[in-house]
């Protein structure tokens, strides 16, 4: 104990320790005993501070993830769910099943994956654009600004199920507002289309997700705009830059670090989003809007094949890790070039 305490004298280095003055020799009698424990405590303190967070992350995220990876290698079907440690090993067969695009399971997964990619790209791009437009147009002072800002944030503040369930009411074929406006008032369609099943369901899920996510982009970008120093605008105005020029040469470059994180977070959240499609469509999503999280949920809980479901989740995680790594690599390099 003594060795470990003295071998790392700089344990609490940095901003932590050096403020304490060395004990005056006169106070030696009372000081010498508590000194070691204090040092030890300092050394262990950061670990003690992160311990609760670490334990919780281990319990809820990391250990379940490892078990999940383990589960993808066993035949965990209905028969073994009560006694899942007795389930026979499956080797790579769950993965073979998931990526065999000639068989129904693999083909359905590929379809769902492609739908999710399209859904995520469209939703993130539009959410960013709406958020950016809202934040930029809100710059400056005008009457009603505070009220409008609060209003824009309401969809983000609403619990998912309350907001999305309202949308499912809006999108009802016979009693919904969307068909009332499009068919009865604007006469765009001859017959009332379905929005929650069939081809239109993809458009529906994009619109509902956009409605939920753009206020988050708006919030973050608004905070980012507040951090841009005023004098940059003043300096560029003296140089004769107009509003568009300032947007291009001051605002957008200054927001680049914010955008880097915002786009990544939006991408991950949208890709993994389960709540929106689940509340909008229920346990089984229509083919055209069969997002991956719902698809895996259904493969696991509805058909009771947890091994294959886990294999699909692991593949999804690997894909997201890969995309994140590539994204960070590209955007960080561009940042250091700039």
């Amino acid at each position: 104990m003594v060795v470990s305490a003295t071998s790392r004298p700089g344990g609490g280095r940095g901003s932590g320790d050096p403020g304490r003055p060395p004990p005056p020799s006169g106070g030696r009698k009372g000081r010498i005993i508590p000194r070691l424990p204090v040092r030890l405590r300092r050394l262990g303190l950061p670990y003690l501070l992160i311990l609760p967070a670490l334990l919780l992350e281990l319990l809820v995220h990391l250990i379940p993830m490892l078990i999940g990876i383990g589960m993808s290698f066993i035949k965990l079907t209905q028969l073994y769910i009560r006694n899942w440690s007795a389930a026979p090993s499956a080797g790579w067969s769950n993965y073979h099943l998931a990526v065999d695009f000639n068989a129904p399971v693999g083909r359905a997964l590929l379809h769902s994956f492609l739908v999710t990619v399209a859904f995520t790209l469209i939703t993130v791009a539009l959410s960013w654009f709406f958020g950016m437009a809202g934040a930029v147009l809100m710059q400056g002072e005008f009457r009603g600004r505070g009220v409008l800002r609060a209003l824009f944030l309401v969809p983000y503040a609403l619990p998912v199920y309350a907001g999305v369930i309202t949308w499912s009411f809006l999108l009802q074929r016979d009693s919904g507002l969307v068909n009332h406006v499009l068919v009865d008032q604007l006469h765009l369609f001859g017959d009332k289309p379905f929005w929650l099943i069939g081809q239109n369901s993809f458009a529906s899920i994009v619109v509902v997700s956009l409605w939920r996510w753009w206020p988050f982009a708006f919030l973050v970008l608004m905070a980012g705009l507040q951090n841009i120093p005023r004098d940059l605008y003043e300096a560029s105005a003296i140089d004769g830059a107009g509003w568009m020029r300032q947007l291009r040469s001051v605002t957008l470059p200054m927001l680049r670090p914010v955008n880097q994180v915002l786009v990544l977070v939006l991408f991950l959240w949208t890709f993994n989003d389960f709540n929106t499609p689940y509340v909008l469509f229920g346990k089984t999503a229509p083919q055209e809007a069969d997002l991956i999280s719902i698809h895996i949920y259904q493969s696991s809980f509805v058909t009771w094949n947890f091994g294959t479901g886990s294999a699909m989740s692991v593949l999804l995680l690997l894909f997201l890790l890969l995309v994140t790594a590539i994204y960070l690599l590209i955007t960080s390099r561009r940042r250091s070039d700039a």
Binding site: S15, L62, G140, V258
Partner: protein, 279 residues
């Protein structure tokens, strides 16, 4: 910045369209909640023809809404408060100490954000069932299990945001507290926490909102006794009749606490983002 004339029109049209898109569902939620059942089942009308508050009365008996409400309140409150306390300690360690494994810890915590919830849903379910019977505490289908789950959901974002916030507080303030005889924990409580209050409030709102709105784990990890609003609200649609007016009334009532809290405290969220995360 001097604004050109056309910008005024772009602003009016752009913000107007965004406002219309945002407000339409909210308008429908409010107006449909005061319509009688037959008006929400027939053709849609913008203006309610008959106004009745019966939905706000009936919704409590169609499903045990009050019971779900209490469950949601208990789970979300405890989860968010504990999560913030845990996050404060962890963020303080990351911000003020240089210890081995500091970077690994930050990366691990942040990377859990990208885990698909579906990947650890079933393993967690199995852990709760087994661990619960081993230590004699109900974790599966109980509020305790849901609280533990939710409080870790908001941890990564909370820690990340608080680290940024704590970093923006000058270390000299800590030092001053230490000269006055406080230890590191004393400095945290007397200096850092008061200076970071906006960030802490922002994180608290975030944690509460994410617990109040979670659906996936609530739908698998609860039974009738521990059911929260996220799942309970779907009860209005299981019968042959879909009580849209009651669904809208219930949605409105369960949204009011979070939306009101969020709007009252949103400036702290913006401040928190400005000071910490967005740098």
């Amino acid at each position: 910045m001097r604004d050109p004339k056309w910008l005024k029109w772009v602003r009016i049209i752009g913000l107007g369209l965004l406002g219309l898109f945002t407000v339409t569902p909210i308008y429908v939620m409010i107006t449909s909640s005061i319509k009688p059942l037959k008006d929400v089942q027939g053709d849609f009308h913008w203006i309610p023809t008959t106004i009745t508050f019966s939905a706000f009365h009936d919704m409590w008996s169609t499903v045990p809404l009050a019971h779900y409400f209490v469950n949601s309140l208990i789970v979300s409150t405890i989860a968010s408060v504990v999560s913030v306390v845990v996050a404060i300690f962890a963020a303080y360690a990351v911000s003020r100490f240089r210890f081995a494994g500091r970077r690994a810890f930050s990366i691990t915590v942040l990377s859990t954000q990208m885990f698909p919830g579906i990947l650890f849903l079933l393993p967690l379910f199995l852990i709760y069932v087994n661990l619960g019977s081993a230590i004699g505490v109900d974790l599966y289908a109980s509020r305790t299990g849901l609280i533990i789950t939710y409080l870790t959901f908001s941890l990564p974002f909370s820690i990340w945001m608080l680290v940024g916030y704590f970093d923006s507080i000058p270390v000299a303030l800590d030092e001053a507290a230490k000269v006055d005889g406080s230890g590191p924990i004393g400095a945290l409580i007397r200096v850092v926490i008061p200076a970071a209050t906006p960030g802490i409030i922002a994180v608290l709102i975030y944690a509460f909102m994410s617990a109040w709105g979670e659906v996936l784990f609530a739908s698998v990890m609860t039974d009738e006794a521990s059911r929260t609003l996220a799942v309970g609200l779907q009860g209005y649609a299981t019968q042959n009749n879909v009580y849209w007016n009651q669904i809208m009334a219930a949605s409105l009532v369960v949204s009011i606490p979070v939306v009101a809290g969020f709007l009252l405290l949103q400036r702290y969220l913006v401040q928190g983002l400005t000071a910490g995360a967005v740098k």
